[in-house]
């Protein structure tokens, strides 16, 4: 009798153990498997290598700058610093820039038998899309209607009129100037882009000029507010 009971308990315990194991296995996060094949692995490796190279290049450049600064006499140190400041100003878009690029013209586009409201502005969504597209194809500097786009430039609609930074677009056509290091690629990408169709649905037409050797983009004419930086106070020994 006792033996039979023991067997019963054993069977029940085994079932419980089995269920418990399965439950634990189920609730445990499934192991993330690496499903990349050899080509994807190679591509990822290449991407990482490129990143490494870029970082190394940057480190070397900064090292050179530091060396320059340390080796040169006091007068030249100021010059090196000035150079860095200029470089940063250029990067922030505070200087007028000229370089190879393309000019895009956005103008109204209506069929001949069109009746209906006529818009004189371009919707911010469409403009953002265009700018994303341009950035995707390697644009370096962009100016919309002679307003330089900086990192913080807002594109939004105010009372039915699209505003880019401080400038409102209340009449068409407007020009979008783009500077790129590799204009041909940008141009070719634009030629096959579907952005034209997006513009046509809003009754706008976009024309891309041939690549030009020199496109001039005005400087950013807003105020950069420095919020998270402070000037370093000179250390006491130097006084």
């Amino acid at each position: 009798m006792v033996r039979k009971k023991l067997v019963h308990f054993t069977v029940i315990m085994a079932i419980i153990g089995f269920m418990l194991a399965i439950q634990v296995q189920t609730t445990k996060q499934p192991a993330v498997r690496d499903t990349r094949d050899i080509w994807q692995l190679r591509q990822d490796l290449k991407k990482e290598q490129q990143l490494e190279q870029q970082l190394l290049l940057e480190i070397r450049r900064n090292d050179e700058k530091i060396q320059n600064y340390l080796q040169n006499p006091a007068g030249n140190q100021a010059a090196t610093l000035q150079e860095t400041v200029e470089e940063l100003r250029k990067e922030a878009g505070l200087t007028e820039t000229t370089g190879p690029g393309v000019v895009l013209t956005i103008e109204p586009f209506y069929p001949e038998d069109y009746v209906g409201p006529i818009t004189y502005t371009i919707s911010p969504e469409l403009l953002k899309r265009l700018i994303n597209e341009l950035n995707m194809y390697g644009a370096k500097e962009i100016a919309v209607a002679d307003e330089r786009l900086a990192n913080t430039t807002a594109i939004r609609e105010v009372n039915g009129v699209t505003k880019i930074g401080k400038k409102s677009i209340s009449s068409l056509p407007i020009q979008v100037k783009v500077i790129s290091d590799d204009v041909t690629t940008l141009y070719n990408h634009l030629k096959v882009s579907t952005i034209y169709d997006d513009f046509v649905t809003e009754n706008l037409q976009i024309t891309v000029s041939e690549p030009m050797p020199a496109v001039s983009i005005p400087k950013y004419n807003g105020q950069w507010r420095v919020r998270y930086m402070q000037t370093v106070k000179a250390e006491k020994e130097e006084k």
Binding site: M19, I22, Q23
Partner: protein, 117 residues
């Protein structure tokens, strides 16, 4: 005495080695089923200690409780009421009661033994 423990270990090893995974939506039901199984097991031990153990009651209770709990949870999902909480509550309370009874019985046995020696 050690046979059930060995059975338990065998069950766990078997469960892990099969590499079975049930879909995440059904994990709830399995957890309820495990709770029901535990309840039956502890009830069985208590019945055994109280000398009222009956194998038919034990086995039918085991499977019936599991199925009832799982179907209650299933019904709850479709009614939008957390009915599985009812099962959790019932089994939880019974688990504690049974364990308390088992503890008392063991304690009484132990005291008896100590007095004798």
């Amino acid at each position: 005495m050690w046979l059930p423990v060995i059975g338990f270990i065998i069950g766990i090893v078997l469960g892990f080695s099969t590499d079975w995974r049930i879909p995440a939506e059904y994990a709830n039901y399995l957890s309820i089923a495990i709770l029901a199984a535990f309840d039956t097991l502890i009830g069985g031990i208590r019945a055994h200690l109280q000398n009222v153990y009956d194998e038919n009651v034990f086995f039918t209770g085991f499977f019936f409780n599991i199925i009832l709990a799982a179907s209650l949870a299933f019904l709850g999902v479709y009614l939008g009421v957390d009915l599985y909480l009812a099962a959790v509550f019932a089994f939880g309370v019974r688990l504690f009661q049974n364990i308390a009874v088992i503890r008392r019985i063991w304690l009484a046995k132990w005291m008896e033994k100590r007095e004798k020696s």
